[in-house]
């Protein structure tokens, strides 16, 4: 029986001019039973016994939104992951910027966190405050990622990533206020108003 390392080096060679490189493992759907690794408290980045316990900086916010499919039906078995900078626009510098929220019976995710600051962009650019959302679900063979921006931010006008998104679809990345400290961004996986997803 051949060893996996032999398979890998053979399969990885010659593609895309990569010298003896490996090829990333294929993704597979998270399926409906990821709930076995669910820890609902991870949706609250400021939880009392979590990595950000006692964190006092920044403005406390709630991020929510509804996830729907190509029929506009809600996706109650999906999970959304959040990745963000701290209020100074820095990553993992005293604030752990990771959260995970299941979608509830109405397909809604909910995060409790702090509002991120502007993040340094490529070159001399500055990125508007944003959080990254990744969606995993039954029926998604791989996760898809997008960004949530905050409406009314002056920096949105000059953000290099928003500038790459056709104006007609830019709104799918911009959360609206939905009450005091609450921001809403619905995510449409497919069809009318389909969310713009980003890849690197």
């Amino acid at each position: 029986m051949s060893k996996p390392s032999d398979d890998r080096s053979a399969a990885g060679r010659g593609e895309l001019n990569r010298p003896a490189q490996l090829v990333a493992t294929a993704a597979q759907t998270i399926g409906p039973y990821w709930a076995l690794i669910e820890h609902p408290e991870w949706a609250d980045l400021l939880r009392a016994d979590g990595p950000n316990a006692g964190y006092a900086g920044g403005e406390r916010i709630t991020l929510t939104g509804q996830l729907t499919d190509g029929d506009g039906a809600t996706c109650p078995d999906a999970v959304v992951e959040l990745w963000q900078a701290d209020p100074n626009g820095e990553y993992e510098a005293g604030f752990h910027g990771y959260g995970r929220s299941r979608c509830d019976a109405e397909g809604r995710f909910h995060f409790t966190t702090v509002k991120p600051g502007a993040v340094k962009g490529r070159g001399n650019a500055t990125q508007a405050p944003h959080v990254t959302l990744s969606i995993f679900a039954r029926g998604l063979m791989n996760h898809v990622s997008t960004r949530l921006y905050f409406s009314g931010e002056a920096l949105n006008e000059t953000d290099p990533v928003l500038a790459q998104v056709p104006e007609a679809r830019r709104g799918t990345l911009i959360a609206r206020p939905a009450g005091s400290g609450v921001w809403n961004l619905d995510i449409r996986l497919q069809g009318e108003g389909e969310t713009v997803f980003l890849e690197v």
Partner: protein, 235 residues
């Protein structure tokens, strides 16, 4: 200050398309518009630091509250590398699976098979400095899933890995060698490249197994690697 280095492009055929018609649930859930490719910023280049202090590991899924789960005990181990062959140290690996009868310890699972009360089906481990990981579990059973006529998933274990860069995030499934259900499974077969697909199958490894205690299987993960050559069109 220099810009973050980009990631290597996805090798053709090595990932399953979001629109995989054989898997019915993809029909209404795959985006129809192509994603917009962006040059990596700090946001895409860095990743959350998943520390064992905050996310404690539990590496033996075969025992629950001191009681042994039913089924065939297995040890699964291997390495986590990037596409440049470099080990990924301190990588958090989440694990979940059905019990030996093919039943998930969850109310959503209504499959009429006995549920093992001593198997919860969740594990979590971290790679060491050389990218090695290992855990103990029970070989999961096959289960029906209504995707097509008499559809059964092959034996599989689900994984979730956090790399050192946002684009290294990986959720996948590992299969077992010689499983006749593999040829019939639309999830497994969704990956077009045969070699890439077959790399989702672990290999029996008598060095990982433990004599008179458990069979061993090797499974290596490869996360996306950084591209040494500069981006052509930096944004």
């Amino acid at each position: 200050m220099s810009d973050p280095v980009g990631y290597l492009k996805v090798a053709p055929g090595s990932q399953p398309p979001l629109n995989s018609p054989g898997y019915g649930s993809t029909h209404k859930r795959h985006p129809k518009q192509a994603p917009i490719r962006i040059a990596p910023t700090l946001t895409e280049s860095l990743a959350p630091r998943m520390l064992e202090r905050d996310y404690p590991s539990f590496a033996d899924m075969s025992v629950h509250e001191g009681r042994q789960a039913q089924g065939e005990r297995i040890i699964v181990g291997g390495r986590v590398l990037d596409e440049n062959g470099r080990p990924v140290p301190h990588c958090m690996v989440e694990i979940w699976q059905a019990c030996s009868t093919g039943r998930y310890h969850h109310p959503l699972d209504t499959h009429d098979a006995p549920m093992d009360p001593n198997f919860k089906g969740e594990g979590r481990v971290f790679t060491d400095a050389e990218g090695n990981y290992q855990f103990v579990s029970i070989k999961p059973g096959a289960y029906p899933w209504r995707n097509h006529r008499n559809a059964w998933r092959p034996n599989h274990i689900h994984y979730s890995l956090f790399g050192q860069g946002f684009a290294q995030r990986l959720v996948t499934q590992m299969y077992f060698p010689g499983d006749p259900l593999l040829a019939l499974d639309p999830v497994f077969n969704a990956t077009p490249d045969v070699a890439a697909r077959n790399r989702l199958i672990c290999t029996l490894d008598m060095d990982i197994g433990k004599e008179e205690w458990a069979l061993g299987y090797r499974f290596d993960f490869v996360l996306r690697g950084r591209d040494a050559t500069p981006m052509e069109n930096p944004q």
